[in-house]
Symmetry: C2
Subunit: 385 residues, 2 copies
């Protein structure tokens, strides 16, 4: 069959382990902490409905748009990102979710065999995008301060690196946030060695504890910064964006013509209105933060209660996930089936492994369960593990 279809089936295209799992755990009675979705009850259906009615007063909302995205949306994204950086955010391209930004950047910057550095555990969407271009991926471990940037220099002195990808805030799956001094150092290394940093930041606005750290892009022009409306407004709009170096973004624009010609004028008009309505947006995001904070705290406290020192945990300060590693060598892959039978689901660490053995780790999502359900899920987990 592989010969019949093409060469792809013999390539190392990575299946989404999460996705395969979700198809199993999405059944009645299972409390699933395996997903990665925003809380559905917080999705702003009424506000979107009002924005749609406004957009549809013009047929332009249903017509083809420009490849780089609707101008009002690019403008509000540029203003928001410039404010975060404390300087001009550069060129902006609106993408079909930030996954498309990853895919287009991989196509624009990588040839087969080029080397990319990612965090280990790694974000699966980025690994898929890099695998498709047949890049070679090297993982660098994380700790509570995010990527171990001190481990980069020996790699950089040994080989030519094209891209360092980082989920800088509330890492998926690792939970950690890249410490400020590491951001500065990473930026310095990019300038010194000439690689590109992809700063992938979908969760930065969802901080509910600790203090905000400036983006990596605040410290270097060699950062292509990605974010999206998915976690602060709604994933169903499929509105993401990237900003940074105009020459790279001009290449991305040409590739996007071949990839999908343009995005949806309708969902871009909705996103532009909602992002520009800062009074509404600030209140809405504050509401998400407050609900997620309560859930994260409930999960974290229940885990400490149930596992104590057996389980090393990230302290959730934002985002959607808690990452844990068993200090006593408890494996997490084999017991998953039993855990699902006991009515709880999680993602084993091995699903996110780049080079490390993450067989004693697991990722838990706190966004879509009530505090009571999270506590019950942990009770079931402590029986299964």
């Amino acid at each position: 069959m592989s010969q019949e279809i093409g060469s792809l089936s013999v390539r190392a295209v990575r299946g989404s382990a999460i996705r395969d799992l979700l198809s199993v755990v999405d059944r009645p009675g299972v409390l699933s902490l395996a997903g990665g979705l925003p809380a559905p009850e917080l999705l702003p259906t009424d506000r979107v409905a009002r924005a749609v009615q406004a957009a549809l007063t013009s047929p332009a909302a249903l017509q083809y748009g420009v490849t780089t995205g609707a101008l009002p949306l690019r403008e509000v994204v540029h203003a928001r990102e410039s404010a975060k950086l404390g300087r001009d955010a550069g060129a902006v391209v609106i993408t079909h979710g930030s996954q498309q930004a990853l895919s287009l950047l991989a196509q624009a910057l990588l040839d087969p065999g080029d080397v990319v550095i990612v965090e280990d555990p790694g974000y699966i969407g980025a690994l898929q995008a890099f695998d498709t271009t047949r890049a070679r991926v090297i993982g660098v471990p994380m700790d509570a301060g995010g990527m171990r940037v001190d481990e980069l220099r020996p790699i950089l002195e040994r080989e030519r690196i094209r891209i360092v990808h980082t989920v800088s805030n509330f890492h998926n799956p690792g939970g950690a946030t890249l410490a400020e001094e590491r951001r500065r150092e990473l930026a310095r290394l990019a300038d010194e060695f000439g690689f590109w940093i992809i700063e992938d930041d979908p969760y930065g606005d969802l901080r509910f504890a600790g203090s905000t750290v400036p983006p990596v892009a605040a410290y270097s022009d060699r950062v292509l910064r990605l974010s999206s409306a998915s976690k602060i407004v709604a994933p169903g709009l499929r509105v993401g964006w990237m900003h940074g170096d105009p020459a790279v973004l001009a290449l991305v624009e040409r590739l996007k013509q071949g990839a999908d010609l343009c995005g949806s004028s309708l969902t871009q008009a909705i996103a532009a209105e909602l992002l520009a309505d800062s009074v509404w947006l600030d209140g809405h995001v504050a509401g998400i933060r407050s609900v997620y904070a309560e859930r994260a705290l409930a999960l974290h406290a229940a885990l400490i209660d149930a596992f104590g020192d057996r389980l090393r945990l990230t302290t959730p300060e934002g985002g959607m996930f808690v990452w844990g590693e068993f200090a006593d060598g408890t494996r997490t892959s084999a017991p998953l089936a039993g855990a699902v039978d006991a009515g709880v689901a999680y993602v084993p660490g091995s699903a996110f492994a780049v080079q490390r053995d993450l067989g004693t780790a697991l990722r838990l999502c706190f966004t879509t369960s009530s505090p009571d359900d999270l506590r019950e899920a942990v009770r079931r987990l402590s029986t299964a593990l």
Copy 2:
């Protein structure tokens, strides 16, 4: 700079000549027949507004969706396409416009250097998708019956072809429709030589003269058939689809995970409702056909009147374009600037050339101008050329 950014700038990524042109001709006083947009006044803003209100009664419309597309949309597409084929349409994947289907199929089926056959003149979106995978593209000429399928066999006997791409109905830019006997022969050749046919059919429902021909996919299982809601509902939804061989579509699904994870649940819900509302849709598409028929006729008649035997024209029976080639050797690229000064714009044939010299050809779009404006545009054209 190219070294700085990556290898892409030295690759043969094709700029969109149409797009560069449009940026020049979109100014007051110019009657532009250079575009390729559906008529904005026919975009169904009210019907979409009603569908959005229904969709937004559930937060699912704003949540992530499955990679292959929302089930109700896949079901209605499967039913419509099966009816066209007179048999089961196979697997269905919803794409971000049919441009994404082209891009994903190119990634799934092609390695660098693989050979693809397209019509000459070629559809620019397909050429961009194939160029990105660094395939080698061979053009086969068209006549009034579409692709000269009789010219395929010598090529197939000479080299291994992976894909033959055809815009089977009302070709963009060529205007012609692939004749029924050629469809059968093309399908026979695919079965004999083992290549894949991509049948790219965005315009098939827009027939306003002549009689419907069965899709190429009616004659072989080696056809991956593409279409979209862009020309019958609205491009701003960015809802396209492909159907056919389940193993190829499974590969496409995995690549789509890396490309953009999933489509917009919101615009897919809109498209599902509108495509399933066959009473409304049939009436709506009949309305588009009737308006386009009047415009096509006006343009065609005015061109015959102005140029007579000097200009060989396709007879428009559907779609959005008329293609002309000057029999007396009149070149079309150099006079474009003067034509724009005289208040009319078109796309020179050279923009669509694969291997042929199309320097005496031009593409004219009739969808977005009134009959009077089309007649005035031809008057200006006859002065400029």
